[in-house]
Amino acid sequence: MAKRQKKKSYARVRGDSGQQRRIFYTALCLGLAAFVPVSLRLYSLMVTDYEYYARLALRNQTRTTTVSADRGTIYDRNMNVLACNKGVENIYLDPHELKQSKADVPAISQALGEILDADPAWIAEQASDLKMRYKQIGKKVDAQTAAQVREYINEYGISGIHLEPGTMRTYPYGTLAAQVIGFTNDSGTGSEGIEASYNAYLEGDAGSVITTKGNNEMDMPFSYENYIGATQGCSLILTLDATVQACLEKQMQTAIDRYAVQNGAFGMVMDVNTGEILAMATLGSYDPNNYLEILDTETVQQLEQMRLSYLMEPAQSSAYTAGKEAYAQALHLAQLKQWRNRCLSDGYEPGSTFKVLTLAAALDCGAVDLDTGFQCSGAQQIPGRAQLLHCWRSTGHGSQQTAQALQNSCNLAFANIGLRLGGERFYEYIQKFGVLEKTGIDLAGESKGVFFDKSLIVDTEKWGTASLTSASFGQTFKLTPLQLVRAIASVVNGGYLLEPYLVSEVVDAQGNTVLKQEPTVLRQVISAETSETMCGLIRSVVTDGTAKNATVSGFDIGGKTGTSEKIDVFDENGQRVQDKIVSFVGVAPMDDPQYIVLVALDTPSRSTGIYISGGVMAAPTVGAVMADILPYLDVERNYAEDDAAGRQVILDDMTGLTAEQAQKLLKEQGLTATAVGGGEAVTAQIPAPGECVPGDSQVILYFGEDPAERLVTVPDFTGMNRQQASDTAGSLGLYILVCGNDSLSYDVVVTAQSEAKDTQVPVGTTIRLEFADIGAHD
C-alpha cells in the first residue's frame, strides 16, 4: 500500500496524473495486448495447422512430373499383338517463358501452325494465356513432326516451346475384332470393349518425380528429389484367335457383299466345351486407331449431305444451328452404332435356331421322343390361340417324325412340341438354358434380351397358348446372340451351361500371372443322353434338312437355320417392315463337338433375287467359316469313302521322279495321271506343286517336254450341278474345287466361281466353285 501511495504522490508531483495513466494504458495496449492476437495466430498457423501448411507449402514448392505407366498389351491366344503402345510426343507452350524470352509469338505461331497443321491464330491465343505455364498445342504427334518442331526450336533458339514424350494406343489389326478389343479415349483410359472392362488391369499406376524448385524455375540449395516409379499395366491374353476372327469377318463380309445385306452382320465362334470365345464380330465395324471416323460409306454420305446442307444456310441463322446440331447428333449416333458389340449388347429374335432348345427340352423331359409324329398341313388351329397358326411353308410338311420336324424347321410341329412340354416345363428349361440371365461374360455392356413374363407362358388358362407356341419356335421374344450360342453349346456339349469368357490370363509386367480364367460350368441343363441325341438331330439338319448349304466335305457339321422377321421395327407409315435377320448356328465336328459358329445377317436385300433365308444365306457362310477354321484348328478331316471329288489334295512336287514313282505317289492320293513326252523323268506338271485339287483329279505329267502355254476361256459355271461342272471343267482342261455344299443333289448348284467367266486362264488352273442348295428355305 505504501508503495502505491508513493507512486501516486510521485505522479502528482509530475503534475498530470491523467496523462500518466493514459500513457500507461497506451503502453499496455500497444506494447502488450496488441501482440496477443498476433502471437495466438502464429501459434495456430505454426503449431496447430503446421501439417496443413507444411503440406501446402511443399506442394507449392515442388514440381511433380508424372511418369506415365505403360498400358498393358493385349494379345490373342497365340500371342499376336492386338493392342499395344506407340511412342509419340506432345508439344506444349510455356506462355510465361515465351514472354520472358521476348519471343516473336506471331512468327512462332505461323511456323508451328505450318508444322503441326494447326491454326496459327489459335496457337497465338494459347501463347497469350500468361497465367498458364503449360498450353498443349500438339497432341500425340509422330516422331517426324516432333523432329521438325525440335529443329525449328534449335534454329531460332526459342525458349518456351517444349516437347514431352507420350504414348499412343495402336491396334495393329485395325478393324479386326474392334468391338471386342475397344479403344482408349484421349486421356488413355479404356472406353469400350476389353480396353474398358479390363482398364484397371491394363492401365497400371502412374509414377512421379517430385523436385523442389524455386518460382521461375529458380534452383534452390536446400532441395530434395523424390522418385516414385510407375507400375506398368498388366497384359491380357485373350481367348480370341486372330486367324479365326479374320476368317469369320472375311466370310461375313463376303456374305454381306453377296446378299447385299443392309444392316450389318454379327457372328461368333465359341469353344463349346470351355466357353472360350475364339472370335466375335460385328460388321459395320470401325478402326480403333481412329475410332471417331465412320467407316460405313452409306452413313458417311448421309452425314456429309447433312453437313453440306447446314453449311448452305447463313451462319448464325437458326436453320444453321439446328442443322449443325442435328449433324452432330447423327454423327454421334453413327459412332455409337459402329462401336456397339451386337453379339452381347443387343437382343434379336432368334427364330428357328431356337427350336434346338425347345426340342432338347422336350426330349430331355420326355415330352416327345424320336418317334413322335407331327402333322403339318400348312396351317392349324391351335387350342388357346385365337389366330390360325401358319407354317412358313404354306403347302405344309405333311406327316413328320421328330427328326424331320427339325430338319424341315416346321413351325406347326414345334408349336405342338411346346404344347406337349407345357408352359411350366418350357419356362423352367428356358431359365436353365440361361435365356433369362446375362451370360456373365467378362465384357461390359452385356444385356439379356426380352422374354415373356413367366405367367404369360405358364398360365395358359388365363393368357392362352399364343405366347407359349410362338416362343416354342423362337418368335416374339429376344435374346442376345451370345445367350443363344451358349445355350446351344450346352445342348451339344453333354448338357453343360458355361460362362463364356474372352480373357484367359492377366499377366503383369514381370510375367507373373495375376489372373487366370478357367472354364466355369454353371449347371447341367439336359442329360448327356439327350445331348447325344440332339447332336444326331442337328447333324441331320445339315445332311437332310434346311442347312445342306453348310456342308463342308470332310467335316461333320450340324446346325440349325433361322429366319426371323423383326417384329418391333416399323417403317415411316407405321407398317411392320419385312426386314429379316437370317442366321445359322453350326457345330463341328458332330462326333465330338468342339466349336460352335453363329452368323447372322441383318436385312439381306431383296434386290439380289436370292431367296432370303438362313439356309440359303447364313448356312453357306458358316460352312465357309468352318472350312477355313476347322483345318486351322487341327480338327481332323474325315472323308466319306465315296466322296473322292469332295476331298482336297495338295499336289506334291514330282519333278525328277520316274513315271513309275510318280504314278505310285499319285495313286496313294487317289489321283490319276496322263503322261506327255518321252523323257525318263518328270520335268513339269500341271497343276503346279502345292496346288489344291479335288481328290479325283487327273494330273498331267510332262517328261522332257515343256507344258504348252495354252489359255482357255473360263465358262460360266453358275447354275450347274456337280456333275455338269465337273464335266465342263474336264473338257476344257480346268480343275474345279468344290466349296460349300458338296452334295451331288440336283438342287445343289454353283452360285459363285473364283475366276469370272470369259477370263483367260492357263490350262490346268483350279477354279473354286461355290455350291449351294437353292431350295434350302428357312
Binding site: K6, K7, Y10, V13, R14, G15, D16, G18, Q19, Q20, R22, I23, F24, T26, A27, L30, G31, L32, A34, F35, P37, V38, S39, R41, L42, Y43, L45, M46, V47, D49, Y50, Y52, Y53, A54, L56, A57, L58, N60, Q61, K131, T212, G214, N215, N216, M218, M220, F222
Partner: protein, 390 residues
C-alpha cells in the same frame, strides 16, 4: 537496475537531481541495436534469393548492402538527433508542418510514380516519400499542440477541432495521393496521441466510428480496395492472383513450425512469396526461425515499445512526453499492422516492419526518430523541476 520493471523504476528513492541523466537510456538503445542487427541479418536471408535472381545469379547482397548503408546513415542521424535537446523540436513544429504540406502537394504535381502510385519525390538525386516526413511532422506538431492546449485538450474545441484541423492538413493531400496505408497509420497515431493528450475518449470513439464508415464507403466505391478485402477473407478463392500474396505468406509461416527450417533455409523466399524482403519479411522469419524465433522477435519489439513509453513517462516536460509517446506509438502501430497483415489478421495495407523491412528512407527515418527518443531519455530525471504547473 536490471531487475526493475520497465514502466516504473525505483529511482525516486534517490534524490532526483543527482540522477540528472546526461547519458541516453541504455536499455532502449540495446533493444534497438538488437532489433536492428537481427533485422539486417534477416533482411540478408530474405533478400538473397531475390538479389541473386535480379543480378543474374552473381550477387546475393545487393539489398543487404543498400540497407546496410542506410542503416549507417540512420545510426549517424540517431547519434546526432540524440544530442539535440527536445526543445529544438518545439520550435520546429510549425515550420515542419508547412514544409510537409508543401512537399505532399508537390508530390501531386511533380511526384514520381512507383508501382502505379505517385508518392515519391526526387530532391538532389535523393528519392524519398514525403509521407515519411509528414508522419514525423504530425507527431511533433501534436506534441506542440498538446503543450499549447494544456488542460483545454479535454474540450471539444481544442481536443477535437484543434488536433483534427491540424491532422486534416496532412491527411487531405495524402488522400489525394490515395495513400491509404499512410492515412491509416497517421490516423491511428493521431488518435493515440490525442488520447494521451487528454481528448475525451467519446470523441475518439466517434472518430473511430467515422473512420469505419469512411472505410466502408471507400471500399464500396473503390473496386481495387474491395478486391483486397475479398482476398483477405477468402484468399483461397483466387490462389493464382488476388489471394496469391497472402496464401504464399501463410505457407511460409505455417511451414516454419515450432523451430523453423533454419536460418537461411527458407524455401518461400525463392520468389514464391512476393515482397519477401520488405512488407512480408516476417513470414520468412517465421519460416526460418519458427514460432520460437518469431515470438522472441515479437518480445524484442514489445520490450522496445514498453521502454519507449517508459521514457515518455519519465520525460521532463509535457512536450517531450507526448513527443516520445508519439514516436514510439508510430513504431508500435507500424509493427502491429505489419504483423497483422502478414498473418492475415488484417487486410493487406502495405506497411513495412520497422528495422526489418527493406527500405532505406524508412529505416533511416525510423532510426533518426529513435534518436529523438534517446535524446528525451537523457532528461528522464529532470521532470519534477521543470514541469510547468497546470
Amino acid at each position: 537496475m536490471a531487475s526493475q520493471s520497465l514502466l516504473y523504476a525505483k529511482e525516486n528513492r534517490r534524490p532526483a537531481k543527482k540522477r540528472t541523466g546526461e547519458r541516453v537510456d541504455t536499455i532502449f538503445l540495446l533493444l534497438l541495436l538488437m532489433l536492428l542487427s537481427v533485422g539486417l541479418t534477416m533482411l540478408y536471408s530474405a533478400s538473397s534469393a531475390q538479389s541473386m535472381y535480379d543480378t543474374g545469379y552473381t550477387q546475393s547482397t545487393r539489398y543487404l548492402l543498400k540497407q546496410g548503408a542506410c542503416a549507417g546513415i540512420g545510426l549517424a542521424a540517431m547519434w546526432v538527433l540524440s544530442r539535440i535537446p527536445p526543445k529544438f523540436w518545439l520550435g520546429m513544429a510549425w515550420p515542419l508542418y508547412g514544409i510537409s504540406i508543401a512537399l505532399l502537394l508537390s508530390v501531386l504535381l511533380f511526384g514520381e510514380s512507383v508501382n502505379g502510385a505517385r508518392r515519391w519525390i526526387n530532391i538532389a538525386g535523393l528519392q524519398f516519400q514525403p509521407s515519411e516526413i509528414a508522419k514525423f511532422t504530425l507527431i511533433v506538431l501534436f506534441a506542440r499542440l498538446t503543450k499549447g492546449f494544456g488542460s483545454d485538450a479535454r474540450t471539444f474545441r481544442y481536443g477535437v477541432l484543434g488536433f483534427g484541423g491540424a491532422l486534416l492538413g496532412i491527411l487531405v493531400p495524402l488522400a489525394l495521393e490515395k495513400h491509404l496505408s499512410a492515412i491509416m497509420l497517421m490516423g491511428m497515431v493521431a488518435v493515440v496521441m490525442m488520447f494521451v493528450a487528454g481528448t475525451h475518449p467519446k470523441w475518439l470513439l466517434c472518430g473511430a466510428g467515422a473512420a469505419v464508415v469512411f472505410v466502408v464507403v471507400y471500399i464500396s466505391f473503390m473496386g481495387y480496395a474491395g478486391d483486397r478485402v475479398t482476398a483477405w477473407l477468402h484468399p483461397e478463392q483466387d490462389p493464382a492472383d488476388t489471394g496469391y500474396q497472402i496464401l504464399q505468406s501463410l505457407y511460409a509461416i505455417g511451414s516454419g513450425g515450432l523451430f523453423g527450417l533454419g536460418l537461411g533455409k527458407s524455401r518461400q523466399k525463392y520468389l514464391y512469396l512476393p515482397f519477401q524482403y520488405n512488407d512480408y519479411i516476417f513470414a520468412i522469419i517465421c519460416e526460418e526461425l519458427g514460432l520460437v524465433g518469431a515470438l522472441l522477435i515479437i518480445a524484442l519489439f514489445a520490450a522496445l515499445i514498453l521502454r519507449g513509453y517508459w521514457i515518455a513517462l519519465k520525460a521532463p516536460d509535457r512536450f517531450s512526453t507526448v513527443l516520445a509517446a508519439g514516436l514510439i506509438t508510430l513504431i508500435a502501430v507500424q509493427t502491429i499492422l505489419n504483423l497483422g497483415v502478414v498473418t492475415n489478421l488484417l487486410p493487406s495495407t502495405g506497411i513495412a516492419l520497422p528495422f526489418f523491412s527493406y527500405g532505406g528512407t524508412a529505416l533511416a527515418v525510423n532510426l533518426g526518430e529513435m534518436g529523438i527518443i534517446l535524446s528525451i531519455s537523457r532528461y528522464r530525471d529532470r521532470a519534477a523541476q521543470q514541469e510547468e504547473p497546470l
